[in-house]
Amino acid sequence: MGIRQLAKLIVDHAPRAYKEQDIRALFGRVIAIDASMCIYQFLVAVRTADAANLTNESGEITSHLSGVFYRTIKLLELGIKPIYVFDGKAPDLKANELAKRRSRREEDEQAAAKAREEGDLELYAKYARRVNKVSAETIDNVKRLLRLMGIPVVEAPSEAEAQCAVLTRAGLAYATASEDMDALTFGTPLLIRNLFAALASGAERKDRKPSEFSLAITLEDLGISMDQFIDICILCGCDYTCTIPKIGPYRALMLVKQHGCIEEVLASLRESNHPIPDDFDYLGARGLFKEPHVKDAADIEPLLEWHAPNEEGLVQFLVQENSFNEQLVRKAVERMTKALRSGVANQSRLDNFFKPKTLPKKHEPERPSSKRSTKRARKT
């Protein structure tokens, strides 16, 4: 998924580019959310005690609707304005990766069925959580829900992360929220991970915070260009082509820094008789990262409006069609209207007016042996 071990590479070798941020600091920000990723997360996370998904009367899964509905409202209450960006058609090069995921899912499905037969509920829960099919209908339902909520929905022609990157680069969004690190490879200036995890109940108690990755600082501190960054990501392992055996993220970084680009890296590897798979299609992958199939930011800008929620529409959809509790839905809609009206929507941020004097201090990873007690050390 995404780029293999890229997060670790950045945290280890460009620590200044990574920081954990209090979710409330995102107040007033527009965030482009990779919708498929969050739907998938909700299918995994929003479950009943016995690991079953929530369902409506006709047995259709509704976990994702519940997740999207309640957590989107939480975002609005924090003054964060979400844009949901949906995947379009997967690029042809992704076929291999998708086939792999499909077969992994089938294995998990079988394992889950077997565990259930044997009565091992713990093991069943483990595998059942992994089995998640995101069908076209699932996606359409989420889109319908968001539109009823008055939240902007963007349909990307292909990969959602690539479209999010376009919106963020154009300044229409402050950051891209995705778990996929390849959002950075597509050129998003700022990537936020764990946005929804930080919204879950009890997240604050567990000190779970969104983490931010800055592309500019990553490039600066690794001492590489954007083109080289893309090459490193391809060598690390992306969704669009295979990897070269025995080349991990750190080697990829060193090799590209030493030789400049994949072509030269391959030349030097061939010299030392390092095996290179025949189907290593770095040119195809590089083309996708550099010129992904996306819509222009200017075409999307007029769609980015946040409207008041359609209460009756939401009740019809969630209560009548999907067996949600009407009282809870109406209460949530009320909270949402209040969040929009009480003006979190038009409160400006102070840092729009005053600019930082100096760059933030170099972010050092927290060490348990650190002399001074850090925030985390205090709470435990």
Partner: protein, 262 residues
């Protein structure tokens, strides 16, 4: 080595009360000339700045500039252990990871000390431009506190408009609306109740009452409050503490339409 002695615990207590509900953790920057603090609330909507001049202390000594990262809630708990008229000595040895608070009663028959662990706080300092404001109002701080708390009962945000008439504070809520007008007054008998309004240009801007309420916790520090505002710029509310220094707050305005599109 850093050492500062406050003649009275009460001042430090009031300062903490005025900051701790807005900001949880902050760095106290201690330099030769005095102690400063600058911090934003966690939503980055407001900013508080504190200055305590070195000469305002009984004793003030800084060998090397120090940045003391402190959890304000913990510090406030410690300060509650001091009597209002105790002297407070705050000191830190070079390289130490704690700061010490020493309380001494006026007739020196009681002495207590507390140690507080320091924290590493990653925060950026903002550059506050020295700007000309469109309007400046000086009024009794109790008056400001009263207006803010009265209007908070009706709604979430207040519209402040300065014109030839005076200063008007307006609130609109679900149940109704309200407004307060202040006019220039010299306060012939009681100069401390005077209201001074300087208007360079008429200005009108909305602000969240929630934050103004938190700012008004500084009212006990100063009899007078100053409000400065400009179009499309943060509001400044300043509480000056005579020769010791000041506590000032900045608040980002509300922008755009009054209501969300229906």
């Amino acid at each position: 080595m850093f050492e500062a002695r406050f003649p009275e615990a009460l001042l430090l207590k009031k300062i903490l009360e005025a900051i701790k509900d807005l900001v949880q953790d902050a760095n106290f920057e201690c330099t030769e000339s005095g102690i400063t603090l600058q911090a934003m609330d966690n939503a980055h909507v407001s900013l508080v700045t504190l200055l305590l001049r070195g000469e305002g202390f009984d004793l003030y000594r800084v060998d090397k500039p120090e940045s003391l990262g402190i959890n304000l809630n913990s510090m406030s708990k410690i300060m509650r252990c001091a009597a209002n008229n105790d002297t407070v000595t705050v000191d830190k040895l070079e390289g130490a990871d704690t700061v010490r608070f020493l309380f001494e009663s006026p007739n020196a028959d009681r002495m207590s000390e507390f140690h507080l662990k320091l924290m590493d706080i990653d925060s950026e300092t903002l550059e506050i431009p020295e700007s000309m404001y469109h309007a400046e109002i000086e009024l009794p701080s109790a008056e400001l506190r009263r207006i803010v708390s009265d209007l908070s009962t009706m709604g979430d945000s207040v519209r402040i408009s300065v014109s030839k008439e005076g200063v008007r504070f307006t609130v609109r809520g679900d149940e109704g609306s309200g407004s307060v007008i202040l006019r220039q007054s010299t306060g012939v008998d009681k100069p401390e109740e005077a209201i001074h309004i300087v208007m360079n240009e008429p200005v009108e801007q909305s602000f969240a009452l929630k934050y103004l309420n938190l700012f008004c916790k500084a009212a006990p520090l100063s009899a007078r409050a100053q409000i400065k505002l400009s179009k499309d710029a943060p509001l400044l509310v300043n509480f000056s503490m005579n020769n010791i220094g000041y506590l000032a707050y900045y608040l980002a305005p509300k922008i755009g339409d009054e209501d969300i599109e229906e």
